[in-house]
Symmetry: C2
Subunit: 478 residues, 2 copies
């Protein structure tokens, strides 16, 4: 190998320093690049292609449920942001303000949207007249800005990409139904596409969205035992409708307020994929979200016929899988390491001897298993293997999550788990915000959610001993 070729350098081990491992992976697998814009990242082709697959698959699921896409302005006039009291209190401290347009100062400053409830409400107030205009089930794919002090690629950045659904309904029941429906869409997507099991539940009063009546969440467990809030769905009741005057005339010609919801997932999901599936060799992508599912690595590619065969295989495989050939002038060993770093689910090796024998070698990224497959069987075997990998990755993630989910029946047990183990802690809670805050202050663990699947293993709160109201998942979180 020539000297100027880049080497695949080893990354920090995840056991040694998980945070550094994460940073190494996002950079070395070329998902992002740093920019001169503080707190903002450049999403490179390998990273953006994952987001495109998330968009494509999730958008199709949305549309099956009647969602229509729209686009609202990226700016919110200050007076609009201030219309809903809880909402402005929640967001005003972390927005970016545009004060000048062109060469003049603006009469009213505009914030760059941190989320668009206020814009959708303003729009719905003008657009909705009668019950015939309902429901409105709109969504937009866009970027939003929150002026975070500490940032990490995908997990917390000043600008991030997301989708935000905003709906308006005639009745409270319909709004609640939509809120839960979208949470289920997210949960199914995480499990079936990202191979990431999630806990579905409701946020506590303290943790709910600014302005919501109820916030539902899906919570996933990362490899280091920390939780990641992976998607949320909010029921606003008629609070925003009253603040913005979003009304409709019902069938009896009476004016009524609409009931609203909003729901979103972000590029954070890419951080989740990294932290749930990655290993010390880099990224490991579930097949359904892998921009390249099969990478063909020709062996002794200068020998006559090898590159031709690789290209012939690529062309055939492209009918049923996303496939590329790495025909660069790097050594096979280097290519193996590079494709492992990039998390490509299957590697196909083919060299002169394989060609003679009419076969190729398939290597799984997730567990390293190799097998020799006749060219004529690839069409059957590759899709099978991709399905198996997808399934195995979900099972592995679920096993890790289950092995790291603990039940704390006493405060001593709770503290012992937090200090000596890792993961989710299931515990009974009194429902009191002060108690919740005390738990967080003492242990760093916040309430992740009150799961839909409740258990009852004690009558009293794990912390204060008062009567228990809910079983809660606690955890340290991103």
């Amino acid at each position: 190998m020539a000297d100027d070729k880049k080497k695949v350098e080893a990354i920090t081990s995840m056991e040694k320093d998980f945070a550094q491992w994460y940073t190494d992976v996002v950079i070395k697998s070329e998902l992002i690049g740093y920019t001169s814009v503080k707190g903002c990242m450049a999403i490179k082709p390998a990273g953006y292609a994952i987001w495109e697959l998330i968009q494509k698959q999730l958008d199709a699921k949305f549309k099956e449920t009647g969602v229509e896409n729209v686009y609202m302005p990226m700016f919110i006039p200050e007076s609009l942001l201030e219309k809903e009291k809880d909402h402005v209190e929640g967001f005003a401290p972390e927005v970016a303000w545009v004060t000048h347009g062109g060469l003049s100062e603006l009469q009213e400053k505009l914030c760059v949207r941190p989320t668009s409830e206020t814009l959708f409400c303003d729009f719905y107030a003008k657009d909705i007249e009668s019950y015939r205009d309902l429901p409105k089930v709109y969504n937009q794919w866009c970027s939003v800005v929150r002026w975070e002090k500490e940032t990490r690629p995908f997990l917390r950045s000043r600008e991030f990409l997301w989708q935000e659904g905003h709906t308006a309904h005639a009745t409270a029941e319909e709004a609640e139904e939509r809120t839960i429906q979208m949470l289920n869409v997210y949960a199914d997507f995480c499990e079936n596409v990202l191979a990431m099991p999630v806990i579905k539940g409701q946020k506590t009063e303290k943790e709910k969205f600014a302005g919501a009546v109820a916030t539902y969440t899906i919570e996933a467990l990362m490899h280091d035992g920390k939780a990641l809030q992976s998607g949320t769905s909010h029921n606003f009741g008629d609070g925003f409708a009253k603040a913005f005057g979003v009304q409709y005339t019902d069938k009896e010609n009476k004016l009524q307020y609409v009931h609203q919801t909003s729901w979103g997932v972000t590029t954070r999901l890419i951080g989740a994929i990294i932290m749930v599936h990655g290993d010390d060799n880099g990224l490991v992508l579930p097949p359904r979200i892998a921009p390249t599912q099969v990478m063909i690595v020709p062996i002794m590619q200068k020998k006559e016929g090898v590159l031709e065969k690789a290209e012939e295989l690529r062309s055939a495989i492209s009918a049923y899988a996303r496939v590329k050939v790495d025909a660069s002038d790097k050594s096979p060993g280097f290519k193996f390491a590079e494709q492992e770093m990039r998390g490509i689910p299957l590697r196909l090796e083919v060299g002169p001897r394989d060609i003679e024998a009419g076969q190729a070698i398939l290597v799984r990224r997730d567990n390293g298993e190799k097998e020799t497959v006749a060219f004529t069987d690839l069409e059957k075997r590759i899709p099978e293997l991709l399905d198996t990998i997808q399934k195995d990755m979900l099972e592995k993630a679920r096993a890790h999550r289950d092995a790291n989910t603990h039940t704390a029946k006493s405060w001593d047990e709770f503290k012992d788990i937090i200090e000596n183990r890792q993961g989710f802690i299931k515990a009974m809670w009194c429902g009191d915000t002060e108690c919740e805050e005390a738990i967080k202050a003492e242990t760093g663990a916040s309430t992740r959610c009150m799961p839909f699947e409740q258990e009852c293993f004690s009558d009293v709160c794990v912390h204060c001993g008062k009567p228990a109201k809910k079983m809660v998942y606690f955890g340290r979180a991103y």
Copy 2:
């Protein structure tokens, strides 16, 4: 019909007041809604679905040529914007400035991207090392902001959606080739998908992009005879590379500057579709860009079996066309008018007598032609008709463009055309910016482009009489 049902109101005739006709169409066909954010529009589902089809089809074409999608930050630090002199002069007067983040004033103010050359250059300066890293052929789909004083939906708004491609190449030849290649992608897309013929050519020095060596454009003619710049592709040479230090080591290990391009189209294309194809009944969408290609209108839908048949047809047609049923409780006549306003290419009427006869009526939006088609022939006839409509719309637009393209051999002729006729004026030009400015000051007509297909019908400039250098398309423009 109940009183509270909305009526389809007549729109202003395009001959009477084209500007008002345009506004009526964008509102009544529900493409956009106004917002409380001055100069910004809300793109409603009917409008955004057109943009999604533009994105999908154009993005596929981009990727065929090797384009990869990425995402860069939406903010540009002032110091970055200022690095290329012509560029900052061109854009600084029309950008929005973020001066505060959260509760504090920023140390350096950030503009909201009006275009992202500076961000891509900054990124490439870090990301490109050797000739092996070239070419970079990146694109992003995003929104940009330009603080326009006068705004019109789709045509000129403070925020708009677009794609911006930014490429870096080893040689000047390769950069020029890519610049032209993308212009051709745009031109083919406009003709084949939007049914809109365009003139391809180069912008004059005065009209070129701030910081470019050469700007190429596609220019279309609207129904009112005004021109619309519909897409541009810029060759930057190594100007930006020198300003930002974007260098690579070549095969001889010598440092070289890259050569760059950028190219973009915007939601303006939706304005073009409206103004090229629309009529006094509203929008007319070319089938390839119509979110709904066939609208089924049941006649006497309360009669048994009608809605069932409509749904059965919808299900069958959905295999080969984008189809919906309008099963609302409005009258058929009202539905006809509404679907015409929305520009849906084909209407399918089906009522009890049709069902008995085993047939439906198909009505073309573009020319009103009706035909009766047996249910069993729909599968053949609908795709045929959609193709025919697509083709006829392109021919009609081309005929209108050609009938409104004039040749001016003298200044009197030029003025006569501008005053008494409409459309493109082909004329010989000396190449002098002062002369170009004088023509614009006297007539309101600007140079649209120096077309690739040059003609020579005079040796002297139409305005000043000096030796002619180029044949130019002039026109009043949006």
